[in-house]
């Protein structure tokens, strides 16, 4: 039924073309399995939940013309007026735009055991009592800030002792004090932990410490003071027009700038990863196309070179199906050899990435899937040329001398 033996012996006598396909199939497997893994890895990073309602958030900043610094009373008035607009869920200030990958980060240290202090790099995010609802955070225990908690320190964190309290994400609480330890009332950098919220990324994305956030209620009147507005679903774009108009009306003597949806910041923060995903996807498509076309070309060439032989086989009793089967089997054998070599290449490539780019080991499923994909590619690419070859008339055997 399948002429493995004669096909292999024939291939052995026509090594060059076969070798080309073998190398291409091996390279394809090596590249595609690793690239697919990196793409998936990055995709997961990009798609991991932020824990905030980023789809419905936008932010803006205020540039004062007369007074260089924002006045707390003005900010409170602005935010109150914004909240009154239909379609607005809530609004608050923050020291930066969420997911912008810029903000204030610092080491937080748990000094409960003076011999073994635990330090964790932390996103410090200062906001007001509306921060919880505006960002869409979920309180796990304790409480978030109220209006009287607001402090007025020169820097974001200021002096811990001046703060009325500090709220941690569960991720940060776990990292500092241990998994699921009740941290309410614990002392941290001179302040007291008053609440815990579910893990969320606020200032940072893409970093390892992104979900380790400490919230503080501190008003810092500097350039990066940011208004954060949470809208009802579908209201974002119209409010991005209305809110700046309202602010302008409340005080014409200033400029509203940087009105942007938070998803845009997120997009920008992942820029590197997104372009990596794009580049690798294009590479995969290119490699697959080149290999596919190579197989198509070679099978066509072989079919044309062997028209006479096909005619003879037909005369000796080969049906069209048998001729197709011959060429498909031949192709499958070649790609199969390439696939076996490709697995080795793939593992070697992954080993390099593990050593130099902190990648994890390639899961078996990626190798198996890529093996199947390359075999299928070979089969598909050979299908049309094989079918063309099967159309060769058996009369060719007697007509050509």
């Amino acid at each position: 039924m399948f002429e493995f033996g004669p096909i292999l012996r024939t291939l052995w006598r026509n090594k060059t073309g076969a070798l080309l396909i073998i190398v291409q199939a091996a390279l394809t497997l090596g590249i595609v399995s690793n690239a697919a893994y990196v793409v998936h890895d990055r995709q997961q990073l990009i798609e991991r939940p932020t824990g905030i309602d980023e789809q419905n958030l936008f932010t803006l900043r205020i540039a004062q013309l007369s007074n260089p610094k924002s006045n707390y009373q003005d900010v409170i008035r602005d935010l109150d007026e914004i909240r009154r607009l239909p379609g607005v869920v809530d609004a608050s200030f923050g020291n930066t735009s969420p997911l912008s990958n810029s903000g204030s980060s610092s080491d937080m240290t748990n000094e409960e055991n003076p011999d073994k202090p635990v330090s964790v790099l932390t996103d410090l995010f200062s906001t007001d009592s509306h921060g919880l609802n505006t960002l869409g955070l979920k309180l796990v225990s304790g409480r978030f800030f109220n209006d009287t908690d607001i402090g007025f320190s020169g820097s974001v964190f200021g002096n811990g002792a001046d703060l009325s309290g500090i709220v941690l994400t569960r991720t940060l609480a776990d990292a500092l004090f241990g998994k699921d330890v009740d941290v309410l009332g614990k002392q941290l950098m001179g302040s007291t932990v008053i609440g815990v919220v579910e893990p969320a990324m606020v200032s940072y994305v893409a970093q390892d410490y992104a979900t380790g956030v400490a919230f503080i209620a501190n008003f810092v009147a500097n350039d990066s003071l940011t208004y954060i507005v949470r809208c009802e679903p579908g209201q974002l774009s119209q409010l991005m027009v209305k809110v700046p108009k309202l602010l302008q009306k409340l005080d014409p003597n200033r400029i509203v700038r940087n009105v942007r949806p938070v998803t845009e910041f997120k997009q920008r923060s992942y820029r590197r990863h997104i372009s990596m995903v794009k580049m690798l996807t294009v590479t995969m498509i290119l490699v697959i196309s080149v290999t596919g076309l190579g197989i198509v070309g070679l099978t066509l060439l072989w079919g044309n070179q062997r028209r006479r032989q096909i005619g003879i086989r037909r005369a000796l009793g080969a049906s069209r199906l048998a001729v197709m089967r011959y060429f498909l089997t031949e192709n499958l054998l070649i790609t199969a050899i390439g696939v076996v070599l490709g697995v080795i290449l793939s593992l070697a490539l992954n080993q390099l990435m593990v050593q130099h780019y902190q990648m994890s080991a390639l899961p078996l499923s990626y190798i198996l899937f890529s093996m199947l994909a390359v075999l299928l590619l070979g089969l598909l690419a050979a299908l049309v040329p094989a079918w063309r070859s099967s159309l060769v008339s058996p009369a060719l055997a007697t007509r050509s001398v």
């Binding site: 039924m1 012996r9 032989q309 009793g317 069209r320 009369a395 055997a397 007697t398």
Partner: protein, 227 residues
């Protein structure tokens, strides 16, 4: 064995239609050795191709061993060709990439024989044509006469009832041609029906019956009716 009635075959190209066979009728009985002669372009190969199911025909009827071949599917026709017909060509038509053993094996694989059965048949056929020692040689490593004998072995291995040969000695010198002819006569004496196209009058005479094709028709009606 072979029963053709009023066969017509027209080759059409964009501008011309060539009537390669017209009203072509012929009966060949089982066990006969028929030689076919005629001028170049008369339709000898066309007749052989239709007889061997290599080409379709445009009119008339053809029964091969009692089976009407009209309307058979490609796979049915391939199967019939594989089981009943052995081909010998002027140009030998061995597959250059395969050694003699594998060449003889080709039709047997399409036949679906098992490994042992194929091996036995190949060895028998090669012994019959005196090429047992050359099984592992490539066609290019054999002389013309040896190649043709290998091709005959390939045609015989499936034990077809019907052997079709198109100028089997056309590419061979006289000595080798005689050897091949003797081989064919020996095969015929064991019961295989043979139809052989040849340009060599001496070889044609050695057959039991000679058919002349002129202009797509059997020329000598008395010969046709003598059957």
């Amino acid at each position: 064995m072979l029963k053709m009635e009023h066969i017509a075959k027209v080759f059409r190209t964009d501008t011309v239609a060539t009537h390669a066979l017209r009203d072509f009728s012929l009966h060949v009985k089982a066990g006969e050795f028929v030689s076919v002669t005629g001028p170049s372009g008369a339709g000898k190969t066309t007749f052989l191709n239709i007889a061997g199911l290599l080409e379709p025909f445009d009119g008339g009827s053809y029964q091969l061993d009692g089976i009407s071949v009209h309307g058979l599917s490609d796979s049915q026709r391939s199967k019939l060709r594989n089981e009943k017909i052995g081909f010998i060509f002027q140009g030998f038509n061995l597959i250059p990439d395969l050694n003699i053993f594998d060449n003889v094996d080709v039709p047997l694989r399409y036949r679906g024989f098992g490994r042992a059965e194929r091996k036995r048949r190949i060895e028998d056929a090669l012994a019959k044509v005196g090429l047992s020692a050359r099984a592992k040689h490539l066609p290019s490593q054999l002389s013309g006469g040896q190649q043709q004998r290998a091709a005959i072995a390939r045609a015989l291995a499936g034990e077809p009832a019907f052997l079709l040969a198109d100028e089997p000695t056309g590419n061979l010198d006289t000595t080798m041609a005689r050897q091949v002819m003797e081989l064919l006569e020996q095969i015929n004496s064991q019961g295989t029906t043979i139809v052989m196209v040849t340009h060599d009058p001496e070889l044609a005479r050695r057959a039991q019956r000679n058919i002349q094709i002129v202009d797509g028709e059997v020329a000598d009606l008395t010969l046709r009716q003598a059957v």
